[in-house]
């Protein structure tokens, strides 16, 4: 397998994802960017959007995040975000129920996740 970079997706509640990836595509405030191994150190503001994890030239995981920060170095990508959902395991009905129970930013985000699933 090719060289990898260590992806960490951290939310206030836990470390959601910790895995090696060939490339991570993140929604930067100034546009999407891809981070591969040996990327130069970068600190970027993120907006709401989808983080894609690439392995063997294919997208293996997709996570919806609600803005945040990315700290990219040569061997790791750390994404700090207040909310995140794994689009592969997310279930529309549960999300809908949660969106109805939630208020403000959270409900807004969950609705965006539902929209992204469609």
């Amino acid at each position: 397998m090719a060289e990898t970079t260590q992806l960490e997706l951290v939310t206030p509640a836990n470390i959601m994802v910790q895995k090696a990836a060939e490339m991570v595509v993140a929604p930067g405030a100034e546009g999407l960017f891809g981070a591969m191994p040996r990327h130069s150190p970068l600190l970027a503001d993120l907006v709401r959007g989808v983080v894609e994890v690439h392995e063997n030239g294919k997208i293996t995981d997709r996570f919806m995040i609600d803005g945040g920060l990315a700290d990219v170095s040569g061997e790791s990508v750390t994404i700090l975000t207040e909310r995140a959902e794994n689009l592969a395991t997310a279930d529309r009905d549960t999300l809908k129920a949660r969106a109805e129970a939630a208020t403000g930013g959270e409900a807004d985000f969950l609705n965006a996740v539902i929209a992204a699933l469609q």
């Binding site: 951290v10 939310t11 206030p12 509640a13 836990n14 470390i15 930067g28 405030a29 100034e30 960017f33 130069s40 150190p41 970068l42 600190l43 970027a44 503001d45 920060l69 700290d71 170095s73 750390t78 700090l80 207040e82 208020t103 403000g104 930013g105 959270e106």
Partner: protein, 293 residues
Amino acid sequence: MPSLKDLKTRINSVKSTQKITSAMKMVAAAKLRRAQESAEKGRPYADRMQQIVNSLAVKADPSAAPALLIGNGSDKTHLLVIVSADRGLCGGFNGSITRQTRTEVARLQGEGKTVKLLMVGRKSADALRRELGDLYIDSLEGIQGTAVSYADAASIGETVRNGFESGEFDVVTVIFNKFKSAISQEVTLSRLIPAEVDSTQSEDDAGAGVSYEYEPEEDELLAAVLPRNISTQMYSALLESSAAELAARMTAMDNATRNAGDLIDRLTLVYNRSRQATITKELIEIISGAEAV
């Protein structure tokens, strides 16, 4: 000398108290495990956020830095965010927060500053309402418990930020109990605005010779990070405080259970002694009665 019946009642009542305290201890211990876990899980986020703020803050141009980082140049009005528990029966937990608040308010007022208080948790708010109630800008309840939600912390963060931006206060400090271990908590003061920057740590980071690229520019990025950092700090304070509260309750209830056990032993001794004394007395009466015949 209490009668045997009185003693028996007393022993029974202490026994039922002991049952309650030991149940509370058990509940606190079970909840503590969960609270501790979530406090630990929350740490990576807070730590990394702090690192990023540190490394940005050191590089920031002091003349153009955002007010959230360096303050607005004045320190006349202080806001203290007091984090106590909603419930009692947790030993010195709320007491020490209340005491620290009183000292801090007295100190600041002694220096001629204006103090405002934002109370989180019912206990300290109630304890101080009579003497400091007119300083309260708000008093929040029901935020703490087993599940502290980030949304609550973020909304407190927002209140603080809005107040700061509209010039209601210049310096914001949080007072909370930090969870050190299951048997000890530490009253901690942590400054939210201006942001606390650990310059030694970030110099170490910078020493590695890493030159970061920033997207967008440093100043804009800093302005985006700082508000989030406030919510994060608030969240970790709430998590720490919840874990500390449960730990304090567990220890307090453990002590109470042990004390109740001691009391039961002592009362049982007295009970047995007086029972024996009654028997002896009755025997003497019978024997001397028999001899007299």
